[in-house]
Amino acid sequence: MLIKAENISVVRNNKEILKNIDLTINPRDFITILGPNGAGKSMLLKCLLEFFSPDEGKIIKSDDLKVSYTPQDFVIDKSIPITSMDFIMLNKNIKKDEINNISKEFNISEILNKQLSHLSGGELQKILITRSLIDNPNLLILDEPTQNLDVSGQLSFYKFLDKIYAEREISILMVSHDLHMVISTTKKVICLSNHICCSGEPSSITKDPEFINLFGHDFADMMSLYKHDLKHNHEGRESV
């Protein structure tokens, strides 16, 4: 066990944002949280990160937990001049050589000396995640990382994430709407709508009545199709 939320509830403005949530993240987990807007997805992440303490319940962390986090809506203000390299090194104890190695590993050498404000959304996410991997975390928490990306940016981003998950001893907890993109990699899907509606393996979750209730028949059917499709094209997708 890396981190565990035990029966946590959060109330804001008399509204129960999170209700009796139980969640355990183990080493090598890859969990995707799905849910409509206002379902408390970001709040759950922020409780796990201890930005807020829950009104009820508790968060239990293992001693060797090292979390890194990439927030929702990361945009860089144009008035701040900073290169990707300087941003990665900011407030980190790391030498340039090490960054050069890690950037070769993740194919970001070309954008290392560019200004952060000149990067595309996808490039920015890669830099952000590279930065968060520097301290060798064992849990990566991502809040809607592909929100500002177009479809090809999303594809390339999830390929990048697959690679990290495959090559590093890391667990991933991600809020994402792109179930069709992660369905082949993610091990567990949790549907959140203030409480946990349903959870399970991606292959079975789309048949869960609660899932269908939350997202509608069309979405559920589409997801099962995607899964089918992706399995067939898995080899092809790797070579894109």
Partner: protein
């Protein structure tokens, strides 16, 4: 003004005071530009008149009065911002002009003669030896603290959540930054005056942005531009016989226009 007076002690004092202000403004001004706090800096300097008034009425040093009032102002503002009763700029407008007018009322009721012009537009040529010592000390203090929190402050300026997740105490760092800004305003009022303080923070930083590729170099260039403008502005005001504060700001603006038209890189 005769040419042989160019190195008179009052001019030397003015230059040292001005250079100190430029150095502090160079570092802090970048954050004011990045965090889009121009109006905050403006409001803070407006509220400093209340501090000056309290100092005059109660008979103590106006720099200390300004410092105290600005600290209260910044705390109150941060508290009200978190309450989210009104939008930020409305709050700033109310607090700034309320304290400005209370300050002026207090001064007029005190029945003492006060040269308001000096406070509004600054009077750098009256900087005393004693004040020079204060300027140098507060510059060393502010710059050392800023240096110490620099990376954390830059990171949380780029993204507060990322900084929080890396266990940076963002509330503490932000409070330290605001305190430095308050020290700057309390020190700077004497040199450029209440109405022109924001320009010392904003114009050099905005100019430096056009020719910088890292946060550190932007602060450095910004400080150098400030120093140059102080020197040119002070002598310009002496030789052409114009008010010093506006002369400094005019020089800063000239640099901004020149750099913008030559290097245009990024609009800040």
């Amino acid at each position: 003004m005769k040419v042989e007076k160019v190195f008179d002690s009052f001019i030397i004092n003015a230059l040292i005071g001005g250079i100190c202000v430029s150095i502090i403004a160079g570092g802090l001004g970048c954050f004011v530009v990045w965090k889009k706090m121009a109006y905050f800096g403006d409001s803070l300097s407006h509220s400093s008149l209340l501090g000056i008034a309290i100092g005059i009425v109660l008979g103590f040093n106006s720099t200390i009065g300004t410092f105290l009032v600005c600290i209260v102002f910044a705390t109150l503002l941060t508290y009200l911002q978190n309450k989210k009763i009104l939008s930020n700029d409305t709050l700033l407008g109310i607090l700034a002009h309320a304290s400005l007018s209370i300050g002026i009322i207090a001064i007029s009721l005190s029945n003492q003669y006060v040269n308001l012009d000096a406070y509004l537009f600054g009077d750098i040529l009256t900087v005393t030896d004693n004040e020079v010592v204060w300027f140098v000390l507060s510059t060393i203090l502010v710059i050392s603290i800023l240096f110490f929190i620099w990376e954390k402050l830059v990171l949380m300026t780029i993204n507060e959540s990322v900084a929080k997740a890396e266990n940076i105490n963002t509330f503490l760092i932000q409070s330290i930054f605001l305190t430095l800004l308050v020290i700057f305003v309390a020190t700077c009022v004497k040199v450029v005056g209440i109405l022109l303080i924001t320009s010392m923070l904003i114009i050099p930083a905005a100019t430096a942005r056009q020719i910088s590729s890292s946060p550190g170099s932007m602060a450095l260039v910004s400080g150098l531009l400030g120093i140059l403008s102080i020197i040119i502005g002070v002598y310009l005001s002496i030789f052409v016989d114009i008010p010093t504060g506006p002369s400094i700001i005019f020089t800063l603006t000239l640099f901004f226009i020149i750099v913008l038209s030559v290097f245009r890189k990024q609009t800040s």
